[in-house]
Amino acid sequence: MKCEECEVLIEEYADGALDQKSAGPVREHLASCTACTAFHQEWTREQEIYSRYQRDVEVTPLLWSSIEARIKQERGGAREGMLARLRIKLGGLFAGPRFSPAFAGALVVIAIALTVVVMTLLNSKNQRELLARAERNGSAPAASSDDGNPSVEAPTPEVAPKAPETGSTVASNGGGETAPKKVPAAKLVAARPTPDQLVREAEQKYLAAISMLSRDVKRHRSQLDPIMLARFDAALGDIDRTIKDTRRVVNENPGDPIALQYLLAAYSKKVDALREMTAGSEN
């Protein structure tokens, strides 16, 4: 190897970046060339000098505190930003040309009434199904009232598929009796729903209503005016995106009342739209 070739490779050799095949000739050349050996030694001294480089900077606890504060600020800002976007989106849905304020107000009333009616019907249907199932299985329905009367007004978390039923279900006496036993008071206290459970229950009710209305709309889609249908589909697309966004915010901030409010408002809006579609198909 010539000195010129060695000069090209000597830095990589000293860095340890050369493979064995390339490093061998450099090593051999250094063993026989005083000029290149001197350069190699100077290079080594340089590295030692660089290793003594003292920087006028340190990682301090204050630095982490500043980073932590900014992360919290960013996180809060992101959440606020998302809520602001949702406000605009929801505001747009309510104030857009599709629904006049008066009509929107009327729809809200209708939606609430409709939701109550739908849920009553659903509960009644569920109760009947549960009773029938209980008769078949020899167990009582999950959410019967204390006096054993499966009234439709009784709290009925069974609409929510995830709701655990074992806590309040009382096994029959083995004789095929359908009436449930009295649930101990302590169990009732323990089973008192939390705000989160109530929201989930409300969400499930909205989902049930939406599911029922969607089936109805699907059956009657062909009867809708195509332009009106396209407008409704666009509105439903917006609402679904809003629901998705608000659901994500609620998942990230389960205790945030504003986020929950927006989520339920978005569901309510979807019920409104579907109800409007149903009404449109009937006209």
Binding site: E42, E46, R52, D56, V57
Partner: protein
């Protein structure tokens, strides 16, 4: 091995820092565990701030840019593609942050590395000439020499010489090809050598 040695005499929290893999820390930080991100900072804060300091030459600015680097990293955790290369990814962010700052500084017609009080003080020759002082003075010279390199060379030189990164890692951090990196590094070393040459003589030999 180095990590195992460095554990001796350190607090259990610090030991915990070193026992967590990068992938694990990233996964935990992505799930919103603030503690995991703090451990990432504990592990990489020092090399990152050193690198940024070498790039910008000012302590306050280096601290500010390190802060910005870790905030950006936190915000982009979900965009990281290879969790095994956390340090490479962090250095990449730090490089971008430092460069943005330098470009802003250039617009402000500021200069890197010559406004440091310590260097001026040492140039006055008022401090006693012991070894520690020589090291400090040499550090001032190195700092000035770094500040005189152009940005590309400074990045490569700092990452290779001070942060001991491989060519492949530097290529990932900078987005440059390895042949260009080698050329830049060779030139940077030559420029640095020229500037520190007077200090390679008596008194600095080891």
């Amino acid at each position: 091995m180095m990590e195992a040695i460095s554990l001796v005499g350190q607090s259990s929290g610090r030991v915990g820092t070193l026992m967590n893999s990068s992938e694990e820390l990233i996964a935990r930080a992505r799930r919103g565990e603030d503690e995991a991100f703090r451990l990432i900072f504990d592990r990489y804060g020092r090399p990152v701030i050193s690198f940024i300091y070498d790039m910008v030459g000012q302590r306050d600015l280096a601290e500010e840019l390190t802060q910005e680097t870790f905030v950006r990293a936190y915000k982009n955790l979900n965009n990281m593609r290879d969790e095994t290369k956390l340090s490479t990814w962090l250095f990449g962010i730090a490089k971008n942050v430092a460069r943005e700052s330098l470009r802003y500084k250039h617009r402000e017609t500021d200069k890197v590395g010559i406004d440091d009080d310590r260097v001026i003080e040492l140039s006055d020759g008022k401090l006693p000439p012991d070894r520690q002082l020589l090291d400090k003075e040499l550090s001032g010279v190195i700092k000035d020499a770094l500040g005189a390199l152009d940005e590309d060379k400074r990045v490569v030189f700092t990452l290779k010489v001070f942060q001991q990164r491989s060519y492949e890692e530097i290529a990932q951090i900078t987005g440059s090809s390895i042949p260009k990196l080698k050329t830049d590094l060779h030139r940077a070393r030559a420029e640095m050598r020229r500037r520190i040459k007077p200090y390679l003589g008596v008194g600095y030999e080891v």
